[in-house]
């Protein structure tokens, strides 16, 4: 089983890279941190491939690893160092210096997502970007379904204010 696990994990990494990076960017709101987070996730996934259950979804497993690294390592480390991420304005629409080329609607929506609290951003991404059901999102984030509902409602309400 461990050989099958390793094969599935290894094969699942590359197709998931872009989506892992998007999740990392939405969490960290910093492109350099997103790169690091994806790399750390891939490394840990290979290291712990024996724990993956063959036949289950590799991408969801990778997402859980990424989230764990974010919460336990990277975010806490940045906060310890006094850096934090709170002042990175418009992190989803700029690379720190330049505006990223995209259409006006996407840019406005991403700015609105950018301003949401982390828990809302993450929930919006998992449900509307990754197709998690409410129950799956609740399980992944360790919160009641009612919390998922209120986070999504807050996210959509913020977007509804855009004209």
């Amino acid at each position: 089983m461990s050989e099958a696990s390793r094969r599935e994990v290894r094969a699942g990494l590359e197709p998931a890279l872009a989506r892992l990076w998007r999740y990392a960017l939405v969490l960290s709101r910093a492109r350099d941190a997103a790169d690091d987070l994806v790399q750390a996730t891939c490394l840990r996934a290979i290291e712990r491939a024996d724990q993956f259950v063959p036949g289950t979804r590799v991408d969801r497993w990778l997402f859980a690893i990424l989230r764990s690294i974010w919460l336990n390592d990277i975010r806490s480390q940045r906060i310890r160092q006094g850096g934090g991420f709170v002042d990175a304005a418009d992190a989803l629409t700029t690379d720190g210096e330049r505006e990223i080329e995209m259409n006006i609607t996407a840019s406005a929506v991403l700015r609105a997502i950018d301003r949401l609290p982390e828990a809302q951003r993450e929930t919006v991404l998992l449900v509307y970007g990754e197709g998690y059901s409410y129950a799956e999102a609740a399980a992944a984030l360790g919160v009641p379904i009612g919390t998922i509902m209120s986070r999504l409602a807050a996210g959509r309400a913020a977007l509804a204010k855009l004209k």
């Binding site: 590359e14 990076w21 960017l25 790399q39 290291e47 390592d73 209120s150 409602a153």
Partner: protein
């Protein structure tokens, strides 16, 4: 309003159980304000999904792929508590991919390739996603170039070496595999002096032999020809004559 929003959004997302759904539908039938709010919230769905898709296109895939760890990562390194001191892995450009047994099959998450009937159109679409930053950081040494090209050549059935694909004014950065409708599609990525990507694509599509042709699409120049059941394509944001000249240089060699 907050509770109403949560219920309305759950209705939009088809996540309400039957009794709550029926109750909310009954309220909607009787309450115009609630109907307006439902519509406001519902309208956010499409732009939200499109914007999240947009973020996917920004992922620095070449860099992330290049930093994938090798088949068996050094255990002591991966146990480091910080978990983020990983930039040094980037030095092992593409080795992780190669160690896995050949050039990588890249599953483009955008689904572009499956939807296009014309492989050149598919190539144009993904080339449009590449920026000057996509390949510039990659700088494999000669031995790694040879390994990548040999692996790619084996997949598309063409003998490729660093010498045979060397082009004037362009620097080799990476060789990787895609597929188009099940046909292996190899890509040799170069950058010019400004970092702009120029690609040589080779697809094993059993196409009949055809002489070189060229065209402009979007801001890209294309020059392509077919021989021996393989089609080749040079593509980049370069003048059309330059694409043809590069293609002619390669036509004699590969």
């Amino acid at each position: 309003m907050g509770d109403d929003d949560a219920e309305l959004v759950a209705l939009i997302d088809n996540e309400l159980d039957e009794s709550r759904r029926a109750a909310l539908l009954a309220r909607l039938a009787a309450d115009e304000w609630l109907r307006q709010r439902y519509e406001e919230l519902r309208r956010t769905g499409a732009p939200l999904a499109a914007s999240l898709d947009e973020l996917l296109t920004q992922a620095p895939l070449a860099r992330l792929r290049a930093a994938l760890p090798a088949e068996e990562p050094p255990r002591q390194q991966s146990r480091r508590s910080s978990g983020i001191a990983l930039r040094d892995l980037a030095a092992g450009i593409a080795i992780g991919i190669l160690a896995a047994g050949g050039a990588a099959w890249v599953a483009l998450s955008l689904g572009l390739l499956r939807e296009r009937q014309d492989w050149r159109t598919a190539v144009v679409e993904y080339t449009n996603l590449y920026t000057n930053e996509t390949f510039s950081p990659l700088n494999p040494d000669a031995s790694l170039q040879a390994i990548e090209l040999r692996a790619l050549g084996a997949r598309v059935g063409v003998n490729l070496t660093p010498e045979s694909v060397a082009l004037p004014g362009l620097r080799f950065t990476a060789a990787f595999m895609l597929s188009y409708n099940g046909a292996p599609l190899g890509v040799v990525a170069y950058v010019d002096s400004s970092g702009a990507p120029v690609l040589l694509c080779i697809i094993a599509n059993d196409a009949p032999d055809a002489p070189m042709r060229s065209e402009r699409r979007d801001n890209l120049s294309l020059a392509w020809w077919s021989r021996g059941g393989r089609s080749r394509l040079m593509i980049g944001r370069i003048p059309e004559e330059r694409a043809v000249a590069l293609a002619q240089t390669l036509e004699e060699r590969i």
